[in-house]
Amino acid sequence: MIELTNITKRFGAFAALDGVDLKIADGELLALLGPSGSGKTTLLRIIAGLDWPDGGEVSFDGENALARGAGERQVGFVFQHYALFRHMTVFENVAFGLRVKPRAIRKDEAGIRARVKELLDLVQLDWLADRYPSQLSGGQRQRIALARALATEPRILLLDEPFGALDAEVRKELRRWLRSLHEEINVTSVFVTHDQEEALEVANRVVVMDKGKIEQIGTPGDVYDYPATAFVHGFIGESVVLPVNVAEGRVWIGDQPLNITAPNVGGPSKLYVRRHDMQVGFESIGLRGAVRHVRSFGAIQRADIAVCAGGSETVIEIDTPRDHALRTGETVELHPRRYRIFAD
């Protein structure tokens, strides 16, 4: 198990990490998800030993990892831009980690060949062994980078935006492939991404980060259905957001009371509703809006609906079934099937 305790890291005045605690269980596939600048890559590099925290502790199976350099931590690191050794063949790239081991524990040449072959088979690229990195496609390079990182049987595999430099098709394919590879070899893996779809689809557990702090840790289902903070609700999935005011347990939008409850919240707040949870005209909770614009395509129609909130007006975009026709200009009742209210 890998344990991070109260990790802090500053770059000048900028706090890249601000008191991060995280436990990574053996064999899990964990995603660090957040916008750029949220500290996720810095956290990954600290686990790898490529960066050092200003404060806090990192332990691998109870041992202090900060006392060890990157080379002694037995981590495999996969870079966004591959970082393959450009002057070596694919074979030599994968063999590198095996060749630089101290003589006493180094495999002999036949052993190295066998291991590299095994890894190239694993990433299904054994036919590229004699090529140079510049002769490979992006997807192939990343798979070779992965094979190289796995060669020394690391105790943890760290991937920094592994699919970030690839185009959409290859990305989807590699995503599925990584998932099945993890099921096959079951090495503890942490990958960094800013793409929520990638995190939700690939990981067993998702760590959502923002501004150097962890906002929520949970299964993909948890972070999507039960976002812990306004940031997570807004960052993951599509949300409709309305400004409200909560006073003595009652929720007001402008001077209009809403028939919903908001326990544990008070004062100016935001009402968050998943876009697919916002329905039009089923029952009234006192939330009304004016249809501004309607577009239809496929089985749905998408409408811009203006909701008066106090003095200002918020336009929200929602999807409704086509059989429930909306006309521009009409006033409709809005009903959130599920909602969350977070104080500002």
């Binding site: 002694e72 690191f77 140079y132 190289r148 020394t152």
Partner: protein
């Protein structure tokens, strides 16, 4: 029917085309003329003068003891200063390209200093430091160490003048390549030395050769700084460029141009090697 304006347009276009053609011919012609007068003709003249009294006289001039001593000294000094600058250049380029530290811009400026200072001044600096009236002069004399008017002084001055070549060849290359491959090597368990010899050095080897080549050409050809510190002791502290001047001043044209022809040959070889290396360098910078 073709309207008048269309014809005028076509004529205008043809005019513009011939004008562009004329401009091209003039510019290319001027460049060729300039190169012929200032580069090709002098080069031919050097060899023509050297061989003016035949091949035998040319070869005889080169095996004169004085000429041989100058050639040996030049090779020795070049070997020392290229060796030193290879090490210094690698270290300086490594520091600039792979680390962030305060004063980095100042360091880069300082590396370029020998290019912007007149070689004579560079030589004078060493006279001020190590000459009889210099800061270390008395101490050196009392310990019987000869720096000025001897090989150490010539090597020092040459090293100073040629300092920027290796680091200047490497800094842009190493900056472009970044530190990712080194980080990958470290995370795979490589030590610092293994990382340097297996990853960094193979990536910059063409740049290193390029820098060494230019450094060597300048080290062998350096006149100004060496002239100040050499003392012009015949057969002892005269490098090839210094000998060329002395012989020329003594109206010994064949020997002067014979030695000069060796330097010219060095220049030609350097030029060819440089072209080949540049091709390899272009390959090296296309990242995987």
């Amino acid at each position: 029917m073709i309207s008048e304006s269309a014809i005028a347009y076509q004529v205008g276009q043809a005019g513009a085309r011939s004008e562009r053609w004329l401009v091209r011919v003039v510019i290319i012609g001027l460049t060729m003329l300039f190169l012929t007068v200032f580069v090709v003709l002098p080069l031919i003249m050097v060899f023509a003068q050297a061989l003016a009294h035949g091949v035998a006289a040319y070869l005889a001039a080169l095996v004169e003891p004085e000429a041989l001593a100058a050639i040996k000294l030049t090779l020795a000094v070049a070997a020392i200063s290229v060796g030193l600058n290879l090490v210094f250049g690698l270290i300086a380029a490594w520091a600039v390209a792979k680390f962030e530290f305060p004063g980095k811009t100042l360091l880069i400026t300082l590396i370029d200093l020998p290019f912007s200072v007149s070689p004579v001044i560079s030589g004078l600096v060493f006279v001020l430091l190590f000459g009889a009236q210099g800061y270390f002069g008395a101490w050196l004399q009392s310990h019987d160490i000869q720096i000025l008017f001897a090989v150490p002084g010539i090597a020092l001055a040459t090293t100073f003048v040629t300092f920027p070549f290796v680091s200047r060849a490497l800094i842009p290359l190493m900056l472009e390549q970044g530190t990712l491959e080194e980080e990958a090597a470290l995370s795979l368990g490589a030590s610092g030395l293994q990382t340097f010899f297996r990853v960094t050095l193979p990536n910059i080897k063409w740049g290193v050769l390029y820098g060494v080549l230019l450094c060597n050409a300048r080290a062998m050809g350096e006149f100004g700084a060496v002239s100040v510190v050499s003392g012009h002791i015949r057969g002892e502290t005269n490098t090839m460029p210094l000998l060329v001047e002395i012989l020329y001043n003594e109206y010994q044209f064949v020997p002067a141009f014979a030695v000069a022809s060796l330097l010219a040959l060095l220049a030609l070889i350097t030029l060819i090697a440089k072209t080949i290396l540049e091709r390899h360098l272009d390959e090296g910078t296309t990242s995987p």
